[in-house]
Amino acid sequence: MAKTEDEIKQGDLQGIPREKLLEMLRWMVLSRRFEEKTAEAYQTGKIGGFCHLYIGQEAVAVGAIAALREDDYVFTAYRDHAQALVRGVSSDAVMAELYGRIGGASRGAGGSMHIFDRDVNFMGGHGIVGTHLPLAAGVGYAIKYRGGDQVVLCFFGDSVVNGGPFHEAFNMVAKWELPVVYVVENNSYGMGTDIDRVAAVDDLFTRACAYQGKKAEQVDGMDVLAVYDATTRAVKRARETSRPTFIEARTYRYLGHSMSDPAHGTYRSREEVQAERKNDAINSLAERMEQAGLLTDEEYKAMDAGVIAEVERAAEFAETSPLPGRDEIYAHVYADEFRGGLDRRDAWR
């Protein structure tokens, strides 16, 4: 029997309540507007260091984190601003961290790549490719150890699948049945290297087939609802049966690898980037919601304006948050008091 137009629209939105759809849309818009502001602040020298923007990939962080409970855990790599925001770290705290201020999520010690927030189980921003996959397995071990039913969600980039920690972590979570959901954000490029040039398989999710008990699937990472659906099922499986899942989200990064890199150049063409931008995740969800009568243009504009205002406030907060003083230098190296080389080795500093 042919479906009515309404049923098709409802199918596109998977019967997800309007509030949840609006929430996901807003998170994606916030992620994008936040990164636009970040780029601006970087270009004017307010933000330094390595800074990797998330523009284009919003559907992955939003769709996956939307499937979590408040007491679940999130790990990610160094492209971590959006994951932090969506997890519930305030935009003030994320922006102040980028500015290197005391009001930052990590008191200015971590910067762009190392955002942490214990209050919302945001387990960081990790800067070495692949290094956090075993850490996420360890939180899964702790959950199982205590008999809890939380879940660990761990994002990482496509380059990770070729390294040792990926396989070491996958083997352990599969063998010991740990409640970890791994999401590879396959944006096709490890910095400026096409994944096809360095990976022996095209479909990264097939890598998990080597580990019995680890379910794997590939989703359209430009469709927030597809990511949400896959992650929801994976989280349920982890929570109820303590089994890991590997999700490959096919996505695309619109900008360069970091603020130091061009959006296109020797490794990919301007035409390719422009073509991919037509498949934008934010537009795609907004259009589907408008078609289904769940969102008007005015509502969308009002939401966007609200997000822009929030981001501007975050930048003002960051600007006025105090710079860390000398007393911060040794403050968090150890739980015990620590004065470098006991002061005497630092006499001329």
Binding site: Y73, G104, A105, S106, R107, G108, A109, G110, H114, F116, D117, R118, M123, G124, H126, G127, I128, T131, H132, L133, P134, L135, A136, A137, G138, V139, G140, Y141, A142, I143, K144, Y145, G164, P165, E168, A169, N171, M172, K175, A331, H332, V333, Y334, A335, D336, F338, G340, L342, R344, R345
Partner: protein
Amino acid sequence: MALITYREALNRALREEMRRDDRVFIMGEEVGEYDGAYKVSKGLLDEFGEMRVRDTPIAENGFAGLGVGAAMAGLRPVVEFMTWNFALLAYDAIVNSAAKMRHMSGGQFTVPIVFRGPGGSALQLAAQHSQVPDPWYANIPGLKVCTPATPADALGLLKSAIRDEDPVVFIEGELLYNVKGEVPDDEHLVPIGLADIKRVGEDVTIVTHSKMVHVALQAAEKLAAEHEVEAEVVDLRSLRPLDLDTYVASVKKTNRAVVLEEGWPVAGIGAQIVDDIQREAFDYLDAPVARVSGLDVPMHYARALEKIIVPDAEAVIRAVKHVCYLD
């Protein structure tokens, strides 16, 4: 007091701390069913079960990283490396994750973990299995480093390490497991970062740690018997924090120092100790400080050469005689 081996002391420390705190668990290659490659974890699987005594795959980076994550979530893992040579595969987990987490999270995430296992040369294990990793970790802010030489210190330091809020690298002497020593019957804790004077003397200070403490003591006895030189032997016990107060005070008393380590000379821990001594006790010195270290070469398999490469009591005696102007 009981007379037990270094191995038994470590086992006792693990058992006591696992009984005391159910967040403590151990993991590593062969720690469970096999009772440990060096039998340090003997009997623990039977008492505590698989979740707390976890046999791992041979994947050092993976299980060390898993330990770090478990510590971030509030457990207290003790990760055993079959030897510290294999821990080079976990250097990223230890240095980039464990040592940095508290700092780069602005104090939010602590990593109360112990990484332990044997280090140093043993008997003809050749280049890849005979390394002294001590200075590789002593260089890293965010880590603590313990290197016990005796059963009592092994017991007391391991218990302190397990209770510590921060990551501790615990390097045991591969040739010390069968060494016997007196150990208190009651609860015994040794603070991390406190050196210990293992022999009192007036004429020269020998600063050393781990297996070389025994070499220094041997040399000291011979120096007393044959040369009427009374050497004071300072056992560092921990390399980070490094207890400079104790060895500087000793050198101010004896006015002469020999710094002894098993590892390589360049950028070895001894270089730091000599720097502390020259800076803080320059006017007290009656002779330049002498260093005795392992030779600057990958270890040879041949026993004849291995014996030359690792410092022995004779080398220490020569150095002491030199700083005492007796040669």
